[in-house]
């Protein structure tokens, strides 16, 4: 209506059409604006209404979250899709926090996380998805402390590691290394690895401001590789061209190298589980996929990637 009326005016000889036209264009934009707003609203609505069951009707499944787990997730997806033609599984990274946010907002079916969900996040899942967050442990990771291959240091205790990352210990010499300042590398704060390290090594204190935060464990690895005085942390699977230090629980404990055995029996002090989260009990493809991941076939993929299968029983 608005459109046709404006059109009429254009044919009036008084030349005021141009002016009215200018008036009309914002009106023409209205549908666009409302459409945009509408989109935003429906997205929220589907986030609220859709429960875990909604996505499982189709044969597509999305996994999103931890950068530590993204390669693992992809290998799982490839192997599963090979064994079950017709199923499509998409895996994306972004960080555990990103995956959890996606689970809360209903934009992923399964969230991959390298840290357990916080209570606040569980509440958010319950509130927005109308179903509790269901946790499945899928693999085991030993969080490795990386140093350059040329660094003479071989072991570190958790308290010294804490001192280093809190910025209290500034030189390698104090912990038995070369006489040079320590260059700290870490992960950005949406990373599950960041969260795990902060909680289990730093006792929830703040990282030193000098910690350089890099996107993805592979960035940390390449930084440490190029920096003879660098130190970093990340999943054991990324160990390439650098060395992982043996870790002592405290100064009196024996140094333990990260390995399948020490991670499974719990003697390696910073071993952690890797998780899948769903909103509500998984159903359909999600359920079949998670069961397969926990089966012998799924667990055998883990070691190819470089992490450790779950302890048996």
């Amino acid at each position: 209506m608005t459109f046709s009326r404006t059109y009429d005016h254009d044919h009036e000889p008084d030349g005021s059409g141009g002016l009215r036209m200018r008036f009309a264009f914002p009106l023409l934009l209205l549908p666009l604006v409302t459409a945009l707003l509408g989109c935003a609203r429906t997205e929220h609505a589907s986030g609220g209404a859709g429960d875990a069951g909604s996505a499982s009707e189709s044969s597509t499944l999305s996994l999103k979250g931890s950068d530590t787990m993204v390669i693992l997730g992809q290998r799982w997806a490839e192997a599963y899709m090979k064994a079950n033609p017709g199923a499509t599984i998409q895996v994306t990274g972004g960080g555990s926090g990103t995956g959890i946010a996606a689970l809360i907002n209903g934009t992923t079916d399964i969230c991959e996380s390298s840290r357990p969900m916080k209570d606040k996040e569980r509440d958010d899942v319950q509130a927005k998805r109308g179903a509790p967050a269901v946790e499945t442990k899928v693999a085991l990771d030993a969080l490795a402390v990386y140093v350059s291959a040329s660094n003479p240091l071989t072991e570190i205790s958790i308290p010294s590691l804490r001192g280093v990352y809190l910025g209290e210990t500034k030189g390698w010499k104090a912990i038995g290394g070369p006489d040079h300042a320590i260059v700290l590398y870490g992960r950005e704060n949406n990373s599950g690895t960041y969260g795990y390290f902060k909680e289990h090594v730093l006792e929830n204190k703040d990282f030193a401001p000098a910690v350089q935060t890099l996107a993805g464990t592979s960035a940390v690895v390449s930084a440490v590789k190029g920096d003879p005085f660098g130190i970093g942390y990340g999943g054991i699977a990324y160990l390439e061209g650098i060395r992982a230090l043996k870790v002592k629980k405290d100064d009196a404990s024996p140094p333990i190298a990260p390995s399948l055995q020490t991670a499974q029996d719990g003697s390696y002090p910073i071993a952690r589980f890797l998780y899948f989260y769903t909103a509500g009990e998984p159903t359909g493809l999600g359920k079949r996929f998670i069961e397969w991941v926990k089966s012998a076939a799924g667990q055998s993929v883990i070691e190819q990637v470089g992490y450790y299968p779950l302890p048996k029983g």
Binding site: D8, M21, G97, E188, N190, G195, A215, G226
Partner: protein, 333 residues
């Protein structure tokens, strides 16, 4: 649709006039339609920018208004230092038991990296533009100009990767910088990214200087170098200033290169050899994770609004300066 007006005006006309008008109207209609389409496209882009501005402002607003958010962070708290062990600390630690949102290290980081980029890129690009517009001839110019402008097509992630892997090692080996990834490396990477823009705009400005200026200068007995440096360059100054402003805007808004090459440690110092964290890198690294509507989320949007305002103000001031220069030059001639 158009019946009332047509009926009224149609009555008094002769058939010939009516035919002529209907012809005119058909042409007019098509033209109008095209005009509407073009206007609509232009307005959509303006509307998109406005909507983004409104959206960013809206998301940042709780920082000013919400008492809930003020329990965790206030605008003044974003600038004030934290006292710890007798030291005034400026910390950016948004994920913490006690979140700390001091933005000074980020602002300083952004400025540091941008200045490094400009210091390297501007003289280099302007010199290159001078060469191409004043000295290079024929084939050489045909090759050099597009080659430099082609650099603008290098994706910033590629530049970032180069800076991260190659440039950083080289800089550390040469200058012995404390951190391998630092403000200098990021700034150099950025310089690489803004060179083509500054070059291209500056070259256009130099080219636009009328031929008569050069001829007059030469006729007065100046050498080639005198002509270029004392006549052509000053005459093109407004355009070159515009090039610098554009380069600044691109540099301060660039994200990928700084995320990859600056190390992203939020340190408040003037050192170029240490890691720096920029506003853009902070938004890129943290926005993916934040809970929508949390204080952290609002702060990130406030950072975005700040960046938006900064580039807007610089562009505006830049435009004024350029205008002023242009007018002064115009009056002089």
């Amino acid at each position: 649709m158009t019946s009332p007006s047509t009926a009224q005006t149609g009555e008094a006309d002769t058939p010939a006039e009516r035919g002529a008008r209907s012809l005119r109207r058909q042409g007019g209609l098509a033209e109008r339609a095209a005009e509407i389409a073009i206007h609509a496209v232009a307005l959509v882009s303006i509307a998109a920018i406005l909507l983004i501005l409104i959206f960013v402002g809206k998301e940042a607003l709780p920082l000013l208004t919400s008492p809930e958010v003020h329990k965790e962070v206030t605008p003044i708290g974003m600038l004030a230092p934290i006292e710890r062990a007798g030291q005034a600390l400026y910390m950016w630690q948004p994920v913490s038991d006690v979140p700390k949102y001091n933005v000074l290290p980020l602002i300083v980081g952004s400025i540091k990296v941008t200045l490094v980029a400009l210091v390297f890129a501007v003289p280099l690009s302007v010199a290159a533009a001078l060469f191409v517009s004043e000295y290079a001839k024929g084939r050489l110019r045909e090759v050099v100009k597009p080659a430099i402008e082609l650099l603008a097509g290098v994706p910033s992630v590629v530049v970032g990767f180069f800076a991260l892997v190659t440039l950083a090692s080289w800089i550390q080996a040469t200058f012995g910088t404390e951190h391998r990834l630092n403000a200098l490396v990021a700034g150099l990477g950025l310089a690489f990214a803004i060179c083509p823009i500054v070059f291209s705009v500056a070259e256009d400005a130099l080219r636009a200087v009328p031929r008569s200026y050069r001829e007059a200068a030469l006729a007065m007995g100046s050498t080639r170098a005198q002509t270029v440096l004392r006549v052509v360059l000053p005459a093109a100054a407004p355009g070159i200033a515009a090039a610098v402003v554009l380069g600044f805007g691109r540099a301060i808004g660039e994200t990928m290169i700084v995320v990859m090459a600056s190390g992203n440690a939020a340190l408040l110092d003037a050192s170029l050899g240490r890691s720096a964290r920029t506003i853009t890198a902070t938004i890129a690294q943290e926005l993916g994770e934040v809970v929508v509507g949390s204080p952290h989320y609002d702060v990130l949007f406030a950072l975005g609004a700040m960046l938006f305002t900064a580039t807007f103000v610089v562009n505006l001031v830049g435009e004024r300066v350029v205008d002023g220069m242009r007018r002064r030059l115009g009056a002089g001639s």
